[in-house]
Amino acid sequence: MAGISDLVRVVVCDANPCPSFTRVAPQHPLGPALIAVSRLFPLHAGETQALAVASEQGADLLLTDDTAARLAATRLGRRVHRTLVILVRAVRRRLRSSAEVAALLRTIPGRSTLHIRPALLDEMVREVEASG
């Protein structure tokens, strides 16, 4: 899956992407380096395709919540973060208030399939609140 914003070219690897995102697939066969890395870590087909799309489109950023996919992307020289970082970034970009984002972060355990250790999530919430 991929979504391209006006400001940065971002590829998002997500089984249930936002409806406004553009769904794309690789246009060319996978290269040998990507095939090797995807087998080494190992990656699912969707994660491998997201890496291929990021490469083909010269993406500035790849968003994935899979640790192995992140390791693979880093190995391939790709800049990569988790999807929830977009919420945190929205505070820095002044698109959302720190209180709004902190409230959204608190809903993650009940509203998403992202698994984060509760104490770490609390720490994130505190840091976001302190940044505002």
């Binding site: 870590f41 190992p42 988790r82 970034r89 820095r92 840091e127």
Partner: protein, 65 residues
């Protein structure tokens, strides 16, 4: 020490594993399953996930883009 477990896996995966054993690339299916699980756990460790989340938080709050 080892533990026996029962799991359902796709036929195709089992077939591929059996071919590896038949051709001498692995001693048996148990070895392949243990190695696959070990690789998965290595690349999905809690410490690694936590380090990435902290890295992301720092970028989200203080990064430049």
């Amino acid at each position: 020490m080892t533990t026996s477990l029962q799991a359902e896996i796709p036929d195709q995966l089992l077939h591929q594993a059996a071919v590896l054993v038949r051709d001498g690339w692995a001693a048996n299916i148990d070895e392949i399953l243990s190695d696959a699980l070990r690789r998965y756990l290595d690349s999905h460790s809690a410490e690694l996930s936590e380090a990435f989340i902290r890295e992301d938080l720092e970028w989200g709050l203080s990064g430049r883009d």
